[in-house]
């Protein structure tokens, strides 16, 4: 099975992934605050934002192509860094609120400025990113430093002119959406109407207007009257990419609920429930945990949804509620190790998933800094590794294989040798091109399709 076929449009040459750039300190210098907690491309792919556990956001911008510097083209350079959230303390409950950035979502660009939403466990913030590359010079009454001039030296009038200056990127918090959530916010999603967005915590989903911070509208509430009756929580949610009235949310029981905001004000009752009956042969103590959906993403077309649970990724057709149309095993060899993974807490890891621009390939992370891609058309899959050792710049990534006993090939890695502390939870795919951003602990890897990078 050739991995090269993964991602290649039918009839065209295969996709070879190579490391384009790597940002981040070497692994032995990792501090917890540097661990990347979210990665997101903007709608054009020109900007890439990452959030970390220390509450910082780093935005990378892609260098525009130019014939003069062929090797710098397409490179993502740091554009801006800012502190989005700080740790807070809730005095009423004696709880510290972590500053870790859980999610970043870009707003569609409507003018020269870029805007994004970032959230920690409790508070969502809207940031506006603007560039300043000119400044006025030649004031009549002030000198270069801004001090008032001695009027006797002013003999003529001049018109101030705008002169170029070094590019300065300014990031300002435009809105702070606070006090909307009692539980931990796990997702935010901007509506296609570009006016509203939703934020979801374990038990509730709120709808906000981007311009209004002092109130939000609760649209889903699954909190039982008696907390002892709690059986499931909301794990992720997203608006439909085209229909502004539709959104989906996933639960810890492995189900998806599609809700229509036109149907009623409170969307507790779903319009569609997507659930696959459990396979009784796979039942174990941990069946419930591994069926919990950690991420849900609509396809770009809006026709499908992608979900990730602990061992699989599944593609669901919006028109079919009874079962997914496709299921891919990410690391089924872990099925026999669930008890150990429960013990070391790895079973609670929340992996994300992503679609490529054409919805033909899906990607998700795994352990040992491996990430997996599945081609929906050819049904081929590949396992690649994001590590300094195995990634020389511009060298093509070699597919990796985990052997589960039986014949072991050279370079295979056995299940027991997997490093479970190296997990790839956050990945993002450029909206149109074969460029992927992989967060491995504190390192950000950007891989590009070799053909893609050579063209620039």
């Amino acid at each position: 099975m050739s991995h090269k076929q993964v991602g290649a449009p039918p009839g065209e040459s295969a996709v070879d992934w190579c490391l384009y750039q790597l940002n981040g300190a070497a692994e032995f210098e990792v501090s917890e605050a540097d661990i990347i907690s979210t990665v997101e491309f903007n709608h054009t792919g020109e900007l890439l934002a990452t959030g970390d556990k220390g509450g910082r956001v780093v935005i990378f911008q892609r260098e525009p192509e130019s014939k003069n510097e062929p090797y710098n083209q397409g490179e993502y350079n740091v554009y801006s860094t800012f502190q989005s959230h700080e740790p807070e303390f809730d005095y009423l409950k004696s709880l510290e609120i972590e500053e870790k950035i859980n999610k970043i979502k870009w707003l569609p660009q409507q003018n020269a400025a870029h805007s994004l939403l970032s959230t920690n466990d409790k508070t969502i913030k809207l940031w506006k990113i603007t560039e300043r590359d000119k400044r006025p010079e030649g004031y009549n009454l002030k000198d270069e430093e801004g001090k008032l001039k001695d009027l006797s030296t002013v003999t003529s009038l001049q018109v101030p002119v705008l002169k170029p200056m070094d590019l300065m990127v300014e990031v300002t918090p435009r809105r702070i959406f606070a006090n909307g959530h009692t539980y931990h916010v796990n997702s935010i999603s901007v509506n296609s109407d570009c006016e509203t967005y939703m934020s979801a915590d374990d038990l509730r989903i709120n709808l906000w207007h981007l311009a209004i911070t002092d109130r939000s509208f609760n649209i889903v509430d699954i909190k039982p009257a008696n907390m002892e009756d709690l059986t499931e929580v909301i794990t992720a949610s997203e608006f439909h990419p085209h229909h502004c009235n539709l959104f989906v949310y996933s639960s810890s029981k492995g189900s998806l609920r599609l809700c229509d905001m036109r149907a009623s004000a409170l969307c507790d009752k779903h319009s569609k429930l997507y659930e696959e009956p459990e396979d009784p042969s796979n039942r174990s103590f941990f069946s419930e945990i591994i069926s919990s959906v950690s991420d849900v993403k609509f396809s770009h077309s809006g026709r499908y949804m992608l979900t990730r649970d602990y061992l699989t990724v599944k593609v669901w057709d919006l028109n079919m509620e009874t079962k997914p149309v496709e299921t891919y095993q990410v690391h089924d060899y872990l099925r026999s190790k669930l008890c150990s993974l429960y013990e070391n807490d790895c079973i609670f890891d929340k992996f994300e998933c992503a679609w490529n621009g054409s919805d033909s390939v899906i990607m998700t992370g795994a352990y040992n800094n491996f990430f997996r891609m599945f081609d929906r058309n050819t049904k081929r899959d590949v396992t690649l590794e994001a590590s300094r050792e195995s990634s020389k710049p511009r060298a093509i990534l070699k597919p990796r294989r985990v052997c589960v006993g039986g014949k072991r090939r050279k370079d295979d890695i056995s299940v027991d040798s997997l490093d479970f502390t190296k997990k790839i939870l956050h990945t993002a795919w450029h909206p149109t091109e074969n460029i992927i951003a992989i967060a491995a602990t504190n390192n950000l890897y950007i891989f590009q399709d070799k053909v893609n990078s050579e063209m620039h």
Binding site: D121, H184, E288
Partner: protein, 254 residues
């Protein structure tokens, strides 16, 4: 038998997780704790339903448990009328020495607390008082109340001492009007409950239900913890249990 051990182990691990979750930065993670409690419940059910206790004559005073079914173990407060919140149920009621006789079920409770019983692998053989003795009562055999010093060695650990503290104090009352705090309260109750239950399990003397004061410094053996547990916890009132929902059932179980 292996399932029983596995179940026991899982229960111990789960309790440890719930306990340590209280102190983590950022507050209680509802999702994770819910999942842990589901695992706890599954493990408990398996533990209870697995035949594995060598039948042993229960203390004379107590007859074989009856029919029973499932996990009565969730019971608590012997002889008490349907207890209100589970934590109260757990902590209330001193355990009457005679309780065993009166409600054989209570034995089962003990059993149910797999964690307690569980203890070391070797413990199986010692599980005394499986009320099963003589009881045709098939399924849920009862777990041994057992408690030998050997058990202490079991998993869980850090849980012990803290649990004891938990028991002593009531769950944090929800701040006025702040219902959501109940979740923290629930966990605290959970811990208390576990704590109490363990105390019973710790007792080496099934008959008298005497508590063996726990050495507070023992880090190991999380489950059997707290000697400080108030007596009488393990008795359970089955009908009451049935009315409890899964969450509290899981909680109550231990």
């Amino acid at each position: 038998m292996e399932f029983k051990l596995e179940a026991h182990r899982i229960v111990s691990i789960s309790l440890g997780k719930i306990y340590s979750a209280r102190g983590q930065r950022g507050g209680l993670k509802l999702h994770k704790n819910l999942l842990v409690s589901l695992v706890l419940r599954s493990a408990r059910q398996v533990y209870l339903s697995e035949p594995g206790c060598p039948p042993e004559p229960p203390p004379a005073a107590c007859g074989p448990p009856e029919e029973e079914s499932p996990p009565c173990t969730t019971a608590w407060a012997a002889g008490e009328p349907p207890p209100p919140p589970q934590d109260e149920a757990v902590r209330s009621g001193p355990r009457l020495p005679g309780a065993d006789c009166e409600s054989p079920r209570s034995r089962r409770c003990c059993c149910g607390c797999s964690c307690c019983c569980a203890a070391a692998a070797g413990g199986e053989a010692n599980r005394g008082d499986c009320a099963t003795a003589g009881a045709a009562a098939p399924p849920p055999p009862h777990c041994p109340r057992k408690r030998s010093a050997g058990e202490r060695g079991q998993a869980g650990s850090p849980v012990k001492k803290p649990r004891r503290e938990e028991e002593e104090e009531p769950p944090p009352p929800p701040p006025p009007g702040e219902q959501e705090d109940m979740e923290t309260g629930n966990v605290a109750s959970l811990i208390s409950i576990f704590g109490s239950s363990f105390s019973g399990l710790l007792s080496k003397e099934p008959k008298g239900r005497r508590r063996t004061p726990l050495d507070g410094n023992e880090a190991a053996a999380g489950t059997p913890a707290e000697a400080a547990a108030e007596p009488g916890q393990i008795c359970c009132d089955e009908p009451v249990l049935r009315t409890l929902n899964p969450w509290s059932t899981a909680i109550v179980a231990f």
